[in-house]
Subunit: 380 residues, 2 copies
């Protein structure tokens, strides 16, 4: 049977092998590379579905763990699934809850059958397993589901990583067995292995042999230096099947997106653009603009003079600064919109560069303009 | 010279004399009766200008006092005026700051020249006068400006009210003299007089003799019983010129809107729909819906089955409840949108009833459906 989600390769960049493609899902197709806005609780914070469509968001992500707790996956099933519940008729990807179990719960007990842990909301006892993660995601009805995995902390010892990877593989196999809706939803396997190149390679091969319809790369962007992420990707993607989509989890800084695409990644997600937006920090073609700064008080120009988004066409830095300082939620709506548009548009530009075999030149120019070549390395 | 803002009468309801009209301004015309959303700090909380246009908001209100403090009227002047600053190209009405001086500042010293008071933000000393209120509003560039008035507390003694009214009249005359932009902005006089019918009549006549392009009725909806507001209106509107617009300030409950129109009012504003929305309370054709209530947990129907707004067409009570409970700002965006649409649509329906000479029947039916005839009088 043909998987619900398939990858169509359109073009590879000659110098890097970076891929431009199309991912087809039961809720429509979207071009890759693609940045996916994160809608943790069935809403991309401050954004309406129309806003997301206007900025060409081809797919959004939502969080299994959070929806399981609030409002509950059975309620969403009764509502007709997550698409209908949140009024989003385009593709949705859900994670497995694995990352939240490890990032939000301080007390957890990892067993072969699954993980016992505590709710970050009320401390109540919870248990998540490969089968439970599938059950929840089938209730949600996302187009792309994730296998339940362990996301080990960074740094983790080689010995621990070997054990953890093996368990994640066994959990991936259990997830595949539990999955019943292959015609409507596709399950991705998650490659772990930390920053150990040989383990990344080994785990990519192991999961590739399980023939998932797509692959995620997890356990990166968890505190390691950027060159380590890039090395881990280089050790992974060559061992993933070329005809399946590849998703780098939790990565959202512009440099990491471009460097990820260069290493064969098709999809990304991150809360970064919306999280920093809530503090009034925006991404522009000239680097970060922290809108609360006094220098923008009477700046009647757009957030980004090189941006054609709805916000930059209609609102000034002075206005957005006023709103953010006055804690008016419309200010956060504007910065969130701009930041999401920025990353989605960046991926459109990267795709165009791939089509024209000039991705490395694009990277060079972007890094220069954005300020990545300046001495300040904190410029996400 | 023809005033910048003019009133065109289209039809009066036979039984009540209620008016359907059109108000023409330099930024376009809008039908009356009209409810005006309040955009205190140059933004109608959570709403984009496109949202307001979609719900047929013909004019919005913004607050002189708040914009004077943040971001400052000179900054808005430099930005090209309030319309451009906030990306709203339709009519704007600004109040005079008089109400905020009395509602937000505990320490105030009323002199003939104006009012000395303290900022509600940082306690700094401020002074507002009829001339200053005009200066600020001319910098903002609103289509409709308000005279600086005293809004006396309720209850206020007859003696105090007589003195206060006389001062408000003198301030109105000073405002008229200070006003320099009659071709672009029209200044309304504000009728006071509390709940004293004879004083209302007297003040209406006094202000009418000053030949303002429009009239506001202030000092109501400040704690008095509803029948007292209606009686005050009945004592006022017959003495205002029939060819000028009439605006009842700060009134936003559905019953008061309908009863105000019946007594000859054309325009209303209130923070009520957006303020209660932030708490998850919504106005529907069947009365209040407090969306956090457990009964809506699995209610997959719209907020209001009789509403055709964007929110009711696309989102369920269960979804909105989930968002509001999870403190997701998109939930407040949805409830705010619905409530504003509700009052704007109510005024459209009232207008239609006037056109068909059936306003009293409309009132009867609306009050019955909304629950105003039930024993619970707290149903705003």
């Amino acid at each position: 049977m043909k998987p619900a989600v398939t990858y169509e390769l359109i073009k590879t960049d000659k110098a890097t092998g970076a891929r431009a493609g199309i991912i087809h899902t039961p809720h429509g197709s979207f071009p890759t590379p693609m940045f996916m806005p994160v809608g943790t609780l069935a809403t991309v914070k401050t954004m309406a579905p129309e806003d997301l469509k206007e900025m060409n968001a081809g797919i959004i992500l939502s969080n299994t763990y959070h929806l399981w707790l609030r409002p509950g996956h059975e309620l969403i099933r009764e509502a007709g699934g997550l698409h209908k519940f949140m009024n989003w008729d385009q593709p949705i990807l859900t994670d497995s809850g694995g990352f939240q179990v490890f990032s939000l719960s301080k007390i957890r007990d990892i067993k072969e059958e699954g993980v016992h842990f505590r709710s970050h909301l009320d401390g109540s006892k919870l248990f998540l397993s490969p089968e439970k993660a599938i059950e929840i995601q089938e209730a949600l009805g996302s187009d792309i589901m994730m296998s339940f995995d362990e996301c080990p902390p960074y740094p983790a010892s080689r010995e621990y990583m070997i054990q953890s990877m093996a368990r994640t593989t066994r959990w991936a196999e259990r997830g595949l067995k539990a999955h019943t809706t292959m015609d409507k939803q596709s399950l991705f396997g998650i490659v772990q292995g930390g920053v150990y190149a040989d383990l990344r390679q080994q785990h990519a091969k192991e999961l590739a042999s399980l023939d998932f319809p797509g692959y995620s790369i997890g356990g990166l962007s968890v505190g390691e230096e950027k060159h380590l992420m890039n090395e881990a990707l280089e050790a992974t993607t060559p061992f993933l099947p070329a005809d399946k989509p590849r998703y780098l989890m939790g990565v959202g800084s512009p440099d990491a997106l471009i460097d990820g695409v260069i290493r064969g990644i098709d999809m990304f997600d991150c809360v970064l653009p919306t999280r920093i937006a809530r503090n009034g920090t925006t991404m522009t073609s000239q680097g970060r603009v922290v809108i609360k700064n006094k220098i923008y008080e009477k700046d009647f120009g757009p957030l980004d003079p090189n941006c054609d988004c709805h916000v930059c066409k209609n609102y000034s830095r002075a206005y957005i600064r006023h709103l953010v300082k006055a804690k008016e939620s419309f200010g956060i709506r504007l910065t969130s919109y701009h930041n999401l548009h920025f990353l989605i548009k960046l991926m459109e530009n990267v795709r165009e560069a791939i089509m024209e075999d000039r991705l490395l030149a694009f990277r060079e120019e972007f890094f220069e303009q954005y300020g990545y070549n300046k001495p300040n390395p904190r410029n996400f």
